[in-house]
Amino acid sequence: MTGSFPAAMLLKSLPEISLVILAGLVLLLSLVWKKRPPQALTWITIAGLMLCLLLALLFALPVKGPYLIWGGLLKIDVLSFLFRMIFLTGAALTVLISVERQPSQGQGEYLALLITSVFGMCLMAASADILMLYLAIEITAMPLFILAAFQFRQKKSAEAGLKYFLYGAMTSTVMVFGFSLLFGISGQTGYSAIAAALEPDRLPVSLTAGIFMLVLVGFLFKVSAAPFHFWAPDVYEGAPTPIAGFLSTASKAAGFAALLRILQEVFRASPELRFGLLAAAAVASMLIGNFLALRQKNLKRLLAYSSIAQAGYILVGAAVGTPLGASGAIYYLIAYLVTNLAAFGAVAVVSSNTGSDQIAAFSGLNRRNAALALVLGAALLSLGGVPVFAGFFGKFLVFASAVQAGAVWLAVIGVLNAVVGLYYYLNLLKVMYLDPVPEGSGPLTVVFPWKAALLVCAAGILVLGFIYRPWYHWADLAAQMLLLH
């Protein structure tokens, strides 16, 4: 019967349901509980996110073979499970980093919006229906628009929110146009039904290419890849630092999760098309990101350009489309989560102490707070893809997948770009370790939540860099199940 909601299905979506409840609870507590300790809501949120993680482990483990729930709208498989872990971890770390920057007014809203966004991301990774996917993308993006503008008294934050909103609205309109064409030619919204209607004998390839490009616009915006990357530097610079970190990691991962799924399940009949367009976007992102990062004076802008370049590397794996490519992209995203959150966490610490995001504010960081410099250094080396740090395996896997698929030129461009990237990461290390301490700057205070977040990130960078087997195993399982039909 169509009208019932079986308990098994509700159990599988228990983490998502509890996220919504958590968002409501935080919002309510912030209104009702006036005499709470200052960080009570933060810890409640983190406990709630961890509880969701636990619920996912207990009740929503992926079963053998794909498993559709909610009438075929969501798919429970290793991919959606793995990305849910990524999002929840990323959100918990972001909440920790956000601690001091939150104005006491609006703290409840800040946290509730963040949780709602995570809810949307979980749906994005699991969507198996274009209607659901579109709504998931909206419920992910809407809170982020608001969060980017959260310090709207500062001009830059207001600008960031507005820019992000306008870009997001525009690109999502183009993507919905693509979705409407998909619905028009198939009369269905489910991925598998659309894929059947897109078979080359039923539809001219030129039309599929047109639709694919329209849909791709929305995804390239989401993952901040060229040619839809223009928003990233301004938004990252203006948005609250933890939110910029969240945008560059969890939000990007959500975009890639949905992209990987739609590539394999909807546009599977046209591999050349996928490779051509995505490889072009990957090369453009790597070049633009790396070369523009060289000239940056502001660390947040530099990390924004670096994040565009990283999107390019990950797109290499998505373009290749083999199991190795997909698992490489997933591994990369896991590594990138801890790495970039560590970097943005360190920026948050320094900028809240010194009031500046400029690279000059980081000079001599080693002598002001050695541990902080060490974490930021590890994050930068991991971003550059130096071995024993997490980023190395990510880069290694995506480039290996390009070579394996016969696209050696793509791997060569990637490696050359990684060298350019390494230049500005090492340059930053030089600033931190060799440059003199600026006059009149005292030691940096690091409050406990920041310490905890940075410690977890640093541990993640090292663990993912030393022990890659279990993580790779999960990424590979997700990729295999994705390619399995």
């Binding site: 609006g106 809203e109 659901m132 709504l135 419920i139 809407m142 809170p143 028009g184 009031g355």
Partner: protein
């Protein structure tokens, strides 16, 4: 000519006339009211096409809720009699070009429409309001709930982004300015 065609022609003429009147009207309130009429006629056309749910949604949501909001904003902000100027130059020219392209596209489509049919998917569902309601609250109950959450987020956002600082004592105007540029120094 069947009655349906006559009704359609009348409706189409009204719709086009309203759209043109909306564009050329100098008073923004009149423009908005012409748009309401345009939406209403389009709603009747939907009804003729056998899509009663869309027709009613068109009337209630577009002609009703959204246009009331429009009128409120126009009247609150005093935009009734804006001077007609172009903030961005060349818009009219670009608009004309795009209009011509659209027209050419429609003519081409009418000439070469054979062969398009097999690409177009067919709707398998019943489009009556009752059937749509059942679909919406059974199969699509999750998207329905998610939509409500999107709206909630939008409301929260509107409240946050328009909030006023609670501490704004008279005689201390500098305090606010210092807060605004806090982190940039």
């Amino acid at each position: 000519m069947s009655p349906a065609v006559i009704i359609f022609i009348v409706l189409a003429l009204v719709a086009v006339a309203c759209a043109v009147a909306m564009l050329v009207s100098k008073n923004a309130v009149y423009s908005a009211l012409f748009l309401v009429l345009n939406f209403a006629t389009i709603g009747v056309i939907y009804l003729m096409l056998g899509a009663p749910f869309i027709a009613v949604a068109q009337i209630t949501v577009y002609a009703g809720a959204i246009m009331v909001l429009f009128l409120f904003v126009i009247m609150l902000l005093g935009g009734e009699n804006l001077r007609l100027g172009e903030p961005l130059r060349g818009q009219r020219l670009i608009g004309l070009i795009f209009g011509a392209v659209l027209l050419a596209e429609i003519v081409l489509l009418l000439i070469f429409r054979s062969g398009m049919d097999q690409m177009v998917g067919t709707l398998t569902i019943d489009t009556s309001p009752a059937a749509l309601g059942l679909e919406m609250f059974n199969k699509y109950s999750l998207p329905f709930e998610v939509t409500s959450l999107v709206l909630l987020v939008a409301v929260i956002g509107a409240v946050i982004l328009t909030r006023v600082d609670p501490i704004r004592r008279p005689g201390k105007p500098d305090q606010d300015r210092k807060d605004q540029s806090g982190r940039q120094a």
